[in-house]
Subunit: 422 residues, 4 copies
């Protein structure tokens, strides 16, 4: 990706009209920037190097807090920290800006589509006060898209000024579509995304919320796999972790538990025969092995496609049972495989303290951005600063592990696995 | 079960010959007893009411600590606390009695059978010092039985005086067979069992080690199921928990998490149609439901038998996928089921503090019993006292939940589920 | 203590008048009993051996659920599980019996005394639904007694039928006084106590709620003490744990963490010089030591009295700083003491899963007892059954560790500390 | 601080002489850089903007792995992750480079000074295999400096090629002194620091290891403080957290627990009267308050100096008891303060999964740097890359919270505390 500086420009509904009610707070200037590629060569090569707008409270607002109504929606699969984000948005609107009428749309984008009949819920400080202590989302969620026109109708009818959409790739594309439709209709509607991807694979977002919690929980599974592997003759503990396109959870979980001996990620091709041979060598010398596989590992293999679904989309095999069976067949009666799939348990826990803090800041900055009249953007995090990222830039491609970078190098050193298993 | 007082008599290799080296310790008299059935009616009705021998250090020993060699073996599936028991046995032998030569047999009873070629490992205080911090067992394990003659040969050849066998039903039957064979051969060999059953289903043992840890870990799964259920429209979270014959883990996990709405155990018959109807009613009023099912729930249903294995044993269906599919089919597109099977993760964690303390006392009392020359027995726990239980009594039948007792009554009150789903 | 069978008789407001609304539940007969001393000798010696009434739902009720109003109060220091008990009482009243009007009195007995002006709060299922996930008590608490007449006035004025009082020794004495006063006034008021003692020192209660959670949390402190002790030359880690009269938490925490080398409890006298000498010997051979001291350890020493308070009560020194300074002085520059006082952190955590289950059953049984018209009693737990215990019996004396029993014997074996340090 | 590009140059013992034995690994070029100040203005203003050398394996080594001997030392207070770092260094030396003879010096710099008589311990993979599961450091530690000549004598006598020194400011200054002395003597000795500061206050290090674990553990204390505060009338929960010069732990712990109402850090002046008034206002409206204070908060106040120590250094008061007493005096009998000092418990826990992963990469990169012949430097982390930082640059000044940056702004928003309490 060689993004252009223009791709980083954030859309605004208009110039800030009103003074911010925030007191004693250092405001952030609209011109403050964070470099995208902070290498001296890149900067010197570019006449106008790409930079993110810096997030934070603005001195002048677009919306009048006394009349503003806001909505929040959470979409897609569960992720640790959803309730922390909801809470932070509601409390920042209420206590920092004095915005009173905030509603939550239920069951993802279904809640914006009248045909599903889900009534929105009022979100007051009392309602959200202790929701961060629970996993999941009090607004519930759903997958899939809804009619953009109907959703925009709802927002128009309810006089929503800012819609906060928490979700992944598909959700953000939907948020972009709503922002476009609102622009076409001339609505004074800001759409602010808070990117949710437990896989940590959204572009221009260094670390996404819930990711560290997921890594922490994943270690429970790898530790269980290790105990099971050591507890049996030629025991293999196999753990499937989230990561369809990117192996960040698998890689960090491997670094977090040095008992892991093999880490398989989508970014690095594997050859089954080479893997099985490497596992056998490990069993011969150490008597047990722990294997971590990201969901998307090995999906580039020709036999990974197992059919098509009703809509004609390619259907891929499930990496967990595939590896379990392949390793089990190779070991025969001389060994055993214990397979652990902890996905639901990982994604539904409450945020750990780091993620709780992170979600809190994300939510606050989403509110600052919306109040200032920014739209069609997500709040990002880049090189230790919070940023504004246009949605089209965020969803353009997936962030993936660089097989030549420090992370994969550290994984290879930690596991001692062969660098090439092709 | 109406056991006879004679069933409670513990076998001894002979009278205590040597003074115990323990200092400043209140010894327990061989005549000390703990009543089996402590109801006044039962006691008055019986001329000689059944009583357990009380565990603890004896003033006189059968074995000479300076020459004694001991062995430990762990069998069957993992259970929290195995390493704590190993550690407690080794340390009590070493520091309390001065017994130096203790070995661990590897991979369960395979380690006692020369044909498998597993060399035993020396167990010194240094080796076991911090093993209690890990789940699993440092000796590893295996399932299934081995030739009793061969195993006894090994013990005889290695001059083992006390064999500590940690395991469940099958393991204890094997231990009993070794004790019988040793008696036939006239060997001075004591066999002391430490009953291991994460399901808590061994007779005459009020609570078995690892059970509370299992309940604690199970709550992670039910909490995940609850977050997933609430996160979707008509969401059902389904958790399968251990318990083939007895539903203790399912019942306590249900009491430990009041978000559980249905608890299914082997002791209480279920009718699928009634269950599905009850779940539907719950969804109509509350929009989500959490179901906990013990492994053995519904196995009395005629269609639970799905075939026979190679040896002709009846093969039963897996309750988890069965319920997942049945509920999913009933809900159709109007809802969703998230199924969690946390078994490996639960059984492989380290013991929680309570179980750690409990295992420590179990191990110490196993050593006291062995040193005193008791054999063919397990260390039990009954009405807040530690006891000696003859193996034949312990394995005679399974302990099960009384559907008329306080536990099941409390489960019904906590879930609000129908008392009858037949 | 040689209690008499008559001391075990529970007071009733009158015979059960109304049929219970509970469906499909096995009722418990008023005549069901649990033996206090279940040794055959004791039973045979006594013509009428002391027995507890068994807890559980009765077929006939004293109170009419449709008109009944109930109150709950929590008193004294925090203890894990308080919210679980409140929740269980409210939900059992509401869902099992259909009682709607339950209130919580705020700030302990202050909430019953109008002069403090604390308005009671309505306790509906919605209010208590997820309070069990938090430590502390939603009703808040206070120490000390209030005027019995004024408190009874409040209950009379509010037409409270059952008062549930959760607290320790002093609270239960207050509850007894209210029950007596109500009897004198001829009020139809039942007073049901739920005994709260994190120290586990209430008579006739085998294990009190919150105790296991406290032991679990205490292990964090002993593990920290161990890491600190090992991290320095001649390092001593010292942990003070709760237990003014009884050392149960200190003893179980010691068993739960085999790194503890010295356990000091009120029941076993210590001599400072002997203790310091033993610590020195340990440092010489191992280089570090971990010491756990119950609050009340060494309080029998003549110099433990450090003054009198305003009311003339004896003031005892704080065992933590005393030992810290004494050990530190002995070690001088050749070593160091790290002192940890985790009390607030231990007592304020949410109940662990076991305690959560236990509190749930306690609360249910408290409701069953109250509905049946029992009064002036607490719900107890004895030999794996739930019981009714008259308050005067429960507060007659403290439960203490038997220095000749299995618990203290196991502590001595685990620590290797000298049996006598007098 | 306006550092000069020359301050970022890392010292090398000589050019790389030998090919690296690492296979299939993307080497990092010596010329690879990470910008210190990544703002476009700063970069354009500087002719030669300051940049860190990038860490990672080099294609050519200075040391011959087959003959190299290395040493590790840990100094100062405990910090989560010390054992992870030791483990990572030993394993990277052994498995990646084939270096066999690595020793650990015991008790900090005392272990390098023969007068203390602490024999070093051999560090093999077997020794360090599972040390990461324990808090503290297996090498133990000590505070204070030792004679540089004597320490260098030891390294020279033992033919140590690389010394890895894990510690904070003082330790790194000592490491610098050893590197200087070695240079004067013409020794082929590399000194590589791994910066340890639980306070996260070392310059040029974005996040230091153990910091996130400390924040996680701190939340236990703030949650306890919240439960205690809510449990009493006008209850105030006060928690003292680490941070003598910088309030990072206090600030992140505050963001991680939205129940915190006041966060006091060294970087932001406080006025006691204003603080007490603000607490009173909070109690009037909400009935309870939670206060978090970093160790160094309020130390700029004139009365913070309470004396001088033997060496004439200024002695400051302890902020915890000071605030406890001041708040308690203000509240009188109308409220209560519960004070929690969790320092030992926080710093002695094992690293959490994130820190475990982080320590693993830090240790690997320290080994890469040492093998390449770099010296007098620490391994840093800056803008998501691992770096080489000359020790003089790292210890030049403390990193502190910017009161105008996003972190403090988020804290103010989270607590709602007055921005000025001067």
């Amino acid at each position: 990706m060689t993004p252009d500086a223009r791709d980083f420009a954030v859309t605004r509904l208009g110039p800030g009209r009103l003074p911010s009610p925030l007191k004693d707070v250092p405001f952030v200037d609209d011109a403050a920037r964070v470099l995208f590629d902070a290498s001296l060569e890149a900067i010197r090569a570019a006449g106008d190097p790409p930079q993110f707008e810096m997030a934070g409270p603005r001195a002048r607002l677009h919306f009048d807090p006394t009349t503003l109504r806001c909505g929040i929606v959470t979409c897609g699969g569960l992720c640790p920290g959803l309730n922390d984000v909801i809470r932070a948005v509601v409390l920042a609107l209420h206590y920092q800006y004095g915005v009173k009428g905030t509603v939550g749309f239920r069951y993802g984008y279904e809640g914006l589509s009248p045909r599903h009949g889900h009534a929105p819920m009022e979100l007051t400080p009392a309602v959200v006060s202790s929701i961060h202590e629970h996993g999941g989302t009090i607004l519930a969620s759903s997958r899939g898209s809804q009619d953009v026109g109907e959703m925009t109708d709802t927002l128009e009818r309810m006089k929503i000024g800012i819609l906060f959409a928490v979700g992944g790739d598909g959700t953000l594309k939907g948020a972009h579509a709503i922002a476009e439709e609102a622009r076409r209709r001339g609505l004074d509607l800001a759409v602010i995304g808070i990117p949710k991807t437990i896989d940590n694979d959204i572009s221009c977002i260094q670390t996404s919320f819930g990711f560290q919690t997921a890594v922490s929980e994943a270690r429970r599974a790898t530790q269980a796999a290790h105990a099971e592997a050591k507890g049996a003759r030629n025991g293999v503990g196999l753990v499937k972790l989230m990561g369809r396109d990117s192996g960040f959870i698998a890689a960090f979980a491997t670094l977090a538990d040095p008992q892991v001996n093999f880490c398989l990620i989508p970014e690095v091709p594997i050859h089954l025969e080479a893997l099985l041979a490497a596992i056998e060598r490990r069993l011969e010398t150490r008597g047990h092995a722990v294997v971590v596989a990201a969901e998307g590992a090995g999906m580039d293999l020709p036999d990974a496609v197992v059919g098509k679904d009703a809509s004609g989309n390619v259907k891929l095999r499930d990496v967990g049972p595939w590896l379990r069976d392949a390793i089990g067949k190779r070991l025969g009666k001389g060994g055993s495989v214990k397979y652990i799939d902890p996905s639901y348990t990982i994604r539904s826990v409450p945020a750990n303290p780091f993620d709780a803090a992170f979600c809190s800041v994300l939510g606050q900055n989403a509110v600052h951005a919306g109040m200032a009249g920014c739209t069609d953007m997500v709040v990002g995090h880049w090189r230790n600063e919070f940023t504004h990222v246009p949605i089209p830039l965020a969803v353009r491609e997936r962030k993936r592990i660089d097989p030549c970078g420090w992370l994969w190098r550290a994984v290879l050193a930690s596991t001692g696995q062969p660098a090439r298993m092709e």
